[in-house]
Symmetry: none
Subunit: 95 residues, 4 copies
DNA sequence: ACCGTGGTTAGCTTTC
DNA sequence: GAAAGCTAACCACGGT
């Protein structure tokens, strides 16, 4: 233990460097991550609500999910095919 | 194929009721879901970026993830305890 | 603890019920799993070898991998579409 | 596009050299890879089935997975120790 | 209320 | 050693 600065332990609110890591910067990162995670969860909740609403108006949720998956696969396929073309070009030295 | 109404097949853009389901409403739901899913993915990407940035400045990502999990657990625990307290208060007519 | 049989601890080779679980049966499951895992790993190694061989004869591995992925996606898409049809039928009570 | 040979496009079934790559050989590689991949997947499915079966007879899957991991680590450790021993033996001319 | 399925996340391997 | 792709573990939803 080689910290010259005081507070190991209950220095609540006033984090500092401990063992060479900046508590302040770390905390900032964690806060940003948590903020974004909350927003992400909010989106997920919204999606759930939509499914619930659709179900309430008579749609079959399972089918809807499958449709979403299929449309996503279509989009991915298109993207991959474009990548493949580029890759071919690179592979035969045509880039 | 026994539909009296027009467009089965290539009625691109003009979906209608098929077998009692409104293609229009269904499509609207799917669009909303996909829109939100994209935004959600955007959040996820942002989070990933933050981890990458933190890593680049010397932090250990695995440890950071652990911290996030711990803080989340703490937050949940606190929330549950508060809920319990409220419940007790209600139970003894102290709300 | 209600074990009538003796040996908790070093009964090496002669596992028995401990805490109500049959050591013998458990061990049999684990053995089967490990056996299959080894075979699976063997397949993975074989695949790796093929890529290496292809590369040695001048093919671009990255492109090959993408082709494999695309073909797989095609197959999955077809399968999912069939499932979707079945799902539609079920959803409108036509199963 | 500078191919002198015929079939670009819809030469289904009769792949040939395109841009210097042998479509035939490429296809053979892809087929072998896909074949092995399927078998590999089969193994994975079998493993899954075993876990399911074990679960049905009352075992805790999560714990079982832990055991598998532990046994694997043990096996690897033993192997490494043996390798180390062999290395030492070689180093002192005792092989 | 539980189970099974499907989606998300994290860890590992492999590639460049 | 970084970046990506793969795989496996975890979690949450929907159905029964």
């Amino acid at each position: 233990m080689t910290e010259e600065t005081a507070g190991i332990g209950h220095n609540s609110g006033e984090e500092q460097d401990v063992g060479g890591v900046s508590g302040k910067r770390l905390k900032a990162y964690l806060d940003r991550i948590e903020r974004l995670t909350e927003e992400k969860q909010g989106m997920a909740d919204d999606i759930k609500d939509i499914y619930a609403e659709a179900k309430a108006t008579g749609f079959d949720v399972k089918t809807m999910r499958k449709l979403v998956r299929l449309r996503k696969m279509d989009a991915e396929k298109r993207r991959e095919e474009e990548e493949l073309l580029a890759l071919y070009q690179a592979a035969i030295g045509l880039d």
